[in-house]
């Protein structure tokens, strides 16, 4: 061994160029992966649960599992003899108006989930013909107002959350992240991108905003649809999609502002939602998240509630510019259904869910889905 160690002549050979390139590429790949992991961790911290100690204790409950179990239970077929008393009890408890039901025979609803997702008689929800914007759902108005120049949406008086965190921002995916996203949710068909923006990246300097009275800040910044990013989107056949509204068209028009309204659907309310105006839906972002209660009590207690919960962000345009509708799930109604997007699957188990909480999977509608005021768009289903 000593002879080998001492006597062996060391011969140096140049590494083949291809091996050197492969080595550098691998090191670069590791570097990108480390950076993405760091971004994910940071993002998870940004959308962390905030509130008093009992909110944190509540956060430890396996709400997603409870929600799915609740859904399973409510999809069990109810014996015929039990249907009428069960649904009548539910209606009394939660104040359902049974006279508005399209099919008044309670025995025709095989389970509570079907009763919960009942349809209404034609004509019982007349549309206001003059209003530019009508309510998309039956419910209670929790809050409404103007979005501030800091792009904060008020959850309750004095407590706000970030508009960017609610709607999501798009970033240019890199070679290491996109294939993962594509493999992550194949049922979605056209998975485009997974947001991994850190909080610091979301902050746009104040000089990008004009005075709130003459708002002309760039919605491209809010949506992240910066030049170059749009080419990453693909249609169902994998062809790149051009987004006509992804750039200059998303500038707020002079004299316009951003508004918001939050409508809460109580358990007894009709749980389908309709188009609030004439608009076209260009893309959908499915945010994974928790399924905390969104009752007025929870809204008052849990900060960032609408940013934490699983939601479907529908983005598009109406006659005055940008338009967005966001159904937010909750423990008892974690399943969000969008009629024109049958591939969407919400309230999946942790095993099935491939994108971490706070991130989203995006789908482009090509061509955009045109909706008329009052058109049924989807609904919330039990569990």
């Amino acid at each position: 061994a000593k002879d080998i160690l001492v006597g062996t002549r060391i011969v140096w050979y140049p590494i083949p160029i291809s091996l050197g390139i492969a080595c550098l590429a691998f090191m670069h790949y590791l570097h990108i992966r480390r950076r993405e992991e760091k971004d994910k961790d940071h993002e998870a911290q940004v959308v962390a649960l905030e509130g008093p100690w009992h909110v944190h204790a509540y956060g430890y409950l396996p709400l997603r599992t409870i929600s799915r179990m609740w859904g399973w239970l409510n999809n069990l077929t109810v014996p015929l003899w039990l249907r009428e008393p069960l649904y009548k009890s539910y209606a009394t408890m939660f104040g359902c108006n049974l006279e508005e039901m399209e099919d008044p025979d309670l025995t025709h609803y095989p389970n509570l989930a079907a009763f919960f997702y009942r349809t209404l008689k034609p004509g019982v929800r007349p549309l206001d013909p003059k209003a530019p914007l009508v309510s998309p759902a039956d419910g209670t108005v929790l809050h409404f107002g103007l979005i501030t120049s800091q792009r904060k949406v008020e959850q309750i008086k004095g407590i706000t959350y970030s508009l960017d965190a609610l709607l999501g921002r798009q970033r240019k995916p890199d070679s290491s992240s996109n294939p993962t996203a594509l493999a992550a949710e194949p049922a979605e068909g056209e998975v485009l991108n997974v947001a991994r923006k850190t909080h610091s990246e979301l902050v746009v300097s104040e000089d990008e905003f004009a005075d709130i009275n003459s708002i002309n800040y760039s919605l491209d910044k809010i949506l992240g649809d910066e030049p170059g990013q749009h080419t990453t989107s693909k249609d169902g056949k994998g062809n790149p999609i051009e987004h006509p509204h992804a750039h200059a068209a998303h500038q707020l028009k002079p004299g316009n502002a951003l508004f918001f309204a939050v409508i809460y659907l109580a358990p007894g309310d009709y749980h389908r939602f309709h188009s609030p105006s004439e608009w076209s839906v260009e893309k959908r972002r499915h945010f994974s998240g928790e399924l905390y209660s969104v009752s007025p009590i929870a809204v008052n207690l849990i900060r960032n509630l609408f940013v934490l919960n699983e939601r479907v962000v529908l983005l598009g345009d109406w006659q005055h510019g940008f338009f967005s509708m966001i159904p937010v799930g909750a423990t008892n109604v974690g399943s969000i259904k969008i009629d024109f997007d049958p591939e969407l699957r919400t309230n999946l188990s942790k095993r099935q869910l491939n994108h971490p909480p706070g991130t989203y999977v995006e789908r482009e509608y090509q061509p955009p889905v045109r909706l008329h005021k009052g058109d049924q768009m989807g609904g919330f289903m039990l569990g």
């Binding site: 530019p132 914007l133 919605l219 951003l258």
Partner: protein, 32 residues
């Protein structure tokens, strides 16, 4: 469950709502 609307509109847009108010599908929630 909750539905959140975020939209661009002229600054003259006025909500016809009050916090806590019950609304129904199709009911006007704002005017210009």
């Amino acid at each position: 469950s909750t539905v959140v609307l975020v939209f661009e509109a002229p600054t003259e847009f006025e909500f016809m709502l009050e916090a806590g108010q019950k609304v129904k599908v199709g009911q006007a929630i704002g005017k210009l």
